[in-house]
Assembly symmetry: C2
Homo-oligomer: 282 residues x 2
């Protein structure tokens, strides 16, 4: 009675033992630019690496870069962990002045200019009429008119006050349970956690209002947040994403939507279930 | 810059400050029978309460009840925690003999007899053509021919070996990340965690194969698993679920699918995003 799962949890990445048309080739792996990687170091050396999405939310990512360069988050904390919802970090007091160069209320970037996936999901979902993965690996959706980046597990969103606030990017969150797709088109997505998600998803939940840690002692101190491009060369991590604009990735999505027997195929999947792998450069 | 979320994470439950047609009335709350509640006590007194679904998987729930009554899980452990996938518990050695009365390989209960939701979701999703919530609160879906209970976050599934095994119910898992909808129709759902989910979702992730804890020391000991009906009256918890066969719940689902301004409405949601509240009896 070996209780393993046939379906591994891993993203669409690793080559199987038997080569498959869904396996990536070397050229499918593309470098994440150093200034699109954010390295957040928590207490006890736990490191969370975020891939930024400047093409999707340029103003908010611009703020995030300035906040990192001015070391604004150093000494901040992870201050909110709400069960089956989000982990949130930044300045728990929400009173620390923003540094020069950060726009307090940028124009909304809840949506993106156009729906241009490289691979489309076979079926619509409850939140959109179509969805897919862009060539550079971002999950996107549309209602036929507007398009947006989806709030999958592990994506990084910009916390904000009630509308019309868009948030500055100083307070960030990531969904840690069922996806937070109902935030789509209402919050700005600035990136995706590509390493160290477990340091945010496995934190103790708070039962206080909104999952805010009730005491300072519960918070996880943030030691530093840096763009990889601002780190000394020797400390700089290098990541690659699996690109989606090739038949291998399309085959991987199709296989996820139509798994082989003995699995029963559902003929579809959620865009959040096919996020392309991101790895450290070998 | 108060970075709160407009949308609370709570299930569709609590009455708002201003009464709404989506608020439950007293009669909407119905008792969960004592023999449909499973109380799992972990080390350090952490308690996880599971609502069983005997109507959905009678043979496997029958096994689960026998395993509890014979105290088979006492001294077992939570032995697998895989990031963005599942937490799994039972006998880590997978060698402990099953007690008399437990069928090692019951007939498959991956599907249910019919798709009979009390409330239907407005839109299809990637895994089914229709979905909804049954009168007694279970998330179900259909492809037009077969019907099944969905693998939402916090549901309890039966781990198994490769097909045609159905698992006995001795090894159980719950999705702890993005939902595990791609297991629909391939695994048996026996229940839902209705209290204490954080004691399974916030455990340290294992980086060993399949997220199995690599050492015995990592495992979380299970002190006991009991049906509430087998506990002394004074220790017996009493739970109620919010029923779905009433216009209040239907209004709550519609509101989740079409939130009011200033939120932008997506006109839909996932069935996993509208699970009815379950609470301790007041």
């Amino acid at each position: 009675m070996l209780s393993l799962f046939l379906l591994a949890a891993a993203p669409l990445a690793q080559a199987a033992a038997v080569p498959s048309p869904a396996d990536p080739v070397a050229a499918d792996w593309r470098a994440v630019p150093d200034d699109e990687l954010l390295v957040m170091t928590l207490a006890n050396g736990r490191q969370v690496v975020i891939r930024l999405a400047p093409a999707m939310a340029p103003a908010h990512v611009g703020n995030v870069r300035t906040l990192a360069r001015t070391r604004w988050w150093d000494g901040a904390s992870v201050y909110r962990v709400q069960e089956n919802w989000v982990t949130q970090w930044g300045d728990a007091t929400e009173k620390k002045p923003l540094p020069a160069g950060v726009t307090d209320r940028p124009a909304a970037e809840f949506e993106i200019a156009a729906f241009r996936p490289a691979v489309r999901m076979a079926k619509a979902d409850g939140y959109s009429t179509a969805s897919g993965i862009t060539a550079d690996g971002w999950p996107v959706a549309t209602n036929g008119t507007q398009a947006w980046v989806t709030h999958c597990y592990g994506m990084v969103g910009v916390a904000r006050d009630t509308l019309p606030s868009t948030g500055s990017g100083a307070e960030l969150f990531t969904p840690i349970g069922q996806s937070a797709r109902r935030l789509d088109r209402n919050y700005t997505v600035v990136g995706r956690i590509v390493e160290g998600m477990q340091y945010l998803s496995a934190l103790p939940r708070s039962e206080a209002a909104m999952g805010m840690y009730a005491t300072a002692g519960e918070r996880v101190p943030i030691v530093s947040v840096r763009l990889a491009s601002d780190l000394p060369a020797g400390e700089r991590p290098h990541f690659q994403y699996r690109s989606a604009d090739n038949p291998r990735f399309a085959a991987a999505v199709t296989r996820r939507e139509n798994p082989e027997a003995p699995m029963v195929s559902l003929g579809g999947a959620s865009v959040c279930d096919v996020l392309p792998a991101v790895r450290r450069a070998p």
